[in-house]
Symmetry: C2
Subunit: 344 residues, 2 copies
């Protein structure tokens, strides 16, 4: 079965596409005036995620403006704890908060109602696939178990996820149970997104960088490998990108061990190392988002360095982290143009 | 000239000492009841740093309690911007704050009065050397230019130093000037500490981990190499530890390029990579501070893994970051005992 030609899917199949396809993490976001306009129509941030009309609209906005090669479902990694009734709320200026979970709370978790709770998100995926241009890939996503667990345990964001690290040392069995549980329900959630029309899914392990060697293996590699195993056992053609932010040298065997099709690279990954990793398989990244804010020469230099080192292999051009609200939309225009004109 | 036998100095000379010497970053700190008792006698945190009677007392407290192989001067990396009249203040529960600097502010920086302002800190170093046991090494320290600059530009701590990264992209010349300026005065400050009796000094680049490949070279490697060059040109015997936290694979040639005697390793550095780095020279680290909070088996496992992988080469046992206020002082006793009994 051959689907329509979508550059990002080609790259995920190991092909080199020149110029490389491009999308940006958090491309539907506050740097866009049209996003801010839609945002005020939703009550809370979660309302925006759970209202298909609005979520479809903000997902499509950057596609209309820039013609990115992929749209990424507008949602948040914390819809999973929200579906688990952890009382998730996004407080303006304070970041996400939820009721912290303890050992007995982990024992009482049950995932039966999760997919029902997330039905509006799945509906959004289906409607997006219908509305997107034929050539635009649609990406679904979820958080990796470790990263989602860090928020569930602390009840909020922290600089280095010390509460989750400590909990894992103190309660290794309960913590492993939490990670396994999250891996299972997250895999189900990804399968639902794929069935609704996602061409590929990305697993965000945004806090992989605070883990030591053994913990990276146990908390970052194993649960993500398990998720991918579940998804592939049921949807053998599924395309999966795994993004372990800040993982540094731990990325060395990450793709092989997790069996992801491609790995995401944050902006701190040295390009010589990125080129090594690319010999093993497709990579995605890794422009410093601050270069998009700065614009001009520093933006051009950053783009050119990536294209120079990674452009001759399977590459999905992206930022090394989400685009920030201060980015000038004109700089994104310049970014897309420069990537698309590369090597032409 | 042969000084008294101090294990840490031996390791900094490239020797393997078994069991390895041990000290802990932030060992004089809030986890100790005697520290908290002394702390209330000082008005502000900076008063504590600038009052030799009190700074000497808190520096000695962990030596009395645990007999660490090194005492580290009680001070803060932000005494440099304080000496530069940036109005530094430590606000309880909010972290450090100062007046953010801009391009014209960088043009107006002048370092003449810095060493005068820091005279009480230098006095503390001298008094410490007199009061410490003969076998205990005394460590001085300062922040690396990049890390100090991140605070000076943002005016406060941030999760990923986006303001400084952006400033560096937008104003490369002014930023380079700031780093050069900080390298020069910090080198002078280290020389004064060495002259007052410090056996070795540590340069803390706590925010090296947020830099891309080229920026790591320009903002982390070059200024630290310059500092070390200045110090060595005037004090050829100076012993220097460079700690680039979160630097990951960028640590590969960091010691060679900076000419540090030893490099510090944070807890996220995989031990197989640490062992590679140790082939080139002494390493320091890298237990996860949360293991000290957790205690018990997870503390023992963390210690044993480090001793197993790094104990047969030049190693200074330490944490991978500062000890935290929640750590039980009894767990530190257990930590020191286990390291000292290793291989016995």
């Amino acid at each position: 079965m051959t689907g329509p030609y979508r550059k990002i899917v080609e790259v995920l199949n190991g092909k080199t596409v020149a110029p490389p396809p491009i999308w940006l993490m958090r491309q539907a976001g506050r740097y866009l005036p049209e996003y801010r306009e839609t945002r005020v129509k939703a009550g809370s941030f979660l309302d925006l995620c759970y209202t298909p009309d609005l979520a479809v609209e903000v997902t499509l906005q950057p596609i209309r403006r820039y013609g990115f090669d992929a749209a990424i479902l507008f949602s948040d990694i914390l819809v999973i704890p929200d579906a688990l009734k952890r009382n998730v709320r996004f407080v303006q200026g304070e970041g996400p908060q939820m009721d912290p979970i303890d050992v007995s709370g982990i024992g009482n978790l049950e995932g039966e109602s999760v997919l029902g709770h997330l039905a509006p998100v799945i509906e959004t995926v289906g409607r997006l696939r219908q509305e997107l241009p034929e050539e635009t890939a649609l990406l679904g996503f979820c958080g990796a178990p470790w990263t989602v667990a860090t928020y569930m345990i602390a009840g909020h964001g922290t600089p280095d996820q010390a509460p989750a690290r400590l909990f894992a040392y103190r309660h290794p069995e309960a913590f492993e149970k939490l990670l396994s549980f999250l891996a299972e329900i997250s895999a189900e959630y990804l399968i639902a997104q794929i069935d609704a029309g996602a061409d590929a899914v990305q697993i965000f392990d945004s806090w992989a960088g605070v883990l030591g060697e053994r913990e990276f293996e146990n908390f970052a590699v194993k649960p993500v490998a398990r998720m991918i195993e579940i998804v592939r056992s049921r949807r053998p053609q599924a395309k999966i990108i795994a993004f372990a932010k800040g993982a540094g040298l731990n990325l060395l065997h990450y793709r092989q061990k997790t069996k992801a099709d491609a790995i995401g690279l944050d902006w701190s990954v040295p390009l010589f190392f990125a080129a090594e990793l690319q010999k093993d398989g497709p990579v995605q990244g890794n422009l410093d988002p601050m270069r998009v804010v700065a614009g001009g020469r520093s933006l051009e230099e950053g783009i050119d360095a990536i294209l120079d080192k990674l452009g001759n292999g399977p590459l999905i051009f992206n930022l090394g982290h989400g685009i920030t609200p201060e980015a000038d939309p004109e700089n994104v225009t310049a970014l897309v143009r420069r990537v698309r004109e590369a090597g032409v």
